[in-house]
Subunit: 212 residues, 2 copies
């Protein structure tokens, strides 16, 4: 991008546009879910750093139910993987640098010779791992965008996901680019999301009588 | 704690004891789930900062399905809340500075006049919010310890949790103390947990044929 273009289409800076109501680490405001990526290549080691951050998430009994299946831009599976996303997501994610499908194990590890029991928290724990991945990506100057809009059955087949794993989300990882590359409708939406006031999310001692 | 005692019972430093296989933000190694807390009071504003970090987590369609119900040490509900934890957890969590129960909304917001539909990702999204809370706590010199061992039915009743919310976890937040205050069996376990190798958690292109 040359300088004049940059003047007319500044890169969105989430940390500048968002305002925290209480002092927090800047990283939480920097992390957001853009759709404009620059189609650059991601060094495998950089992807490993993001997965490493996810690896250190907390989980019930430290069972670490998360599994990551990944492809880097240019890999043989890349175009087939784009077809695992909803067409809406595939359009913008085609310029990402990596795609990751995050799965979670519905079963706890076997213990004391008993059969494996269902996990109560595999999805919750997988969400913690995703958050850490996304924060590490933001700390490295990348952004990770999680997508619920995926063809779960096709992911299961193409990635050979074992039956006892849940397919949670697809994740597009890349370097942010100018919104000008997006179709007009998406360009207008290329802004960091806001949040509900904390007063609507956090309650002292008990839920309020009326909860929306 | 006086100086001689500190020499004989050093505070556990997770970031010193853990080794990352790939370079990540130090905060991910610092965050862990201790059980020895110092029974100090937590300023309400400091709890708000932790919840604020959670507030900025990503969620599907930005619906923010997480809700936090909290009590500070010394609040009228404190001892009753300890009774909502498994006795094992109540024993050590009694020295925490705050307790939080994290709930997630099973229903998506109403749209276009249609009835509310089930959410596919409320637990996953709540896990992301928990991770951000725990990382902010660690950044502030606190630790947050999530507990699956809670009496969900009692939590629901005492906290007036609406039917369409899932009770995910209890969270004990506090300042780390010396392990010497713990019962001997817990004292030996007061070490930051390890993790499976990334090679067992992350796969290129597809799951391996044999997954444990």
């Amino acid at each position: 991008m040359n300088a004049p273009e940059r003047i007319h289409s500044p890169m969105v800076d989430a940390a500048q546009l968002r305002r925290a109501d209480h002092l927090i680490e800047p990283l939480f405001l920097q992390r957001w879910s853009p759709r404009a990526f620059d189609a650059s290549n991601l060094a495998p080691e950089n992807l490993m750093r993001m997965l490493e951050a996810a690896r250190w998430a907390a989980s019930a009994y430290n069972v670490q139910p998360w599994r990551f299946v990944y492809a880097l831009r240019g890999d043989a599976v890349w175009s087939r993987w784009l077809g695992l996303l909803d067409p809406f997501n595939a359009a913008w994610a085609s310029k990402a640098s990596a795609l990751v499908f995050l799965c979670s194990d519905r079963l706890m590890p076997a213990r004391d010779g008993h059969a494996r029991q269902p996990s109560r928290s595999h999805r919750f724990d997988a969400g913690a791992a995703w958050a850490q991945l996304s924060l590490q990506a933001a700390a490295m100057g990348y952004q990770a965008h999680a997508m619920g809009g995926i063809d779960v059955d096709a992911v299961r087949e193409v990635l050979a996901v074992p039956e006892h794993f849940e397919v949670e989300v697809g994740i597009a990882i890349g370097r942010q680019a100018s919104p000008t590359q997006l179709a007009p409708a998406l360009r207008e939406r290329e802004l960091p999301s806001e949040r509900l006031p904390l007063a609507q999310l956090a309650f002292e001692a008990r839920f309020p009588r009326v909860v929306t």
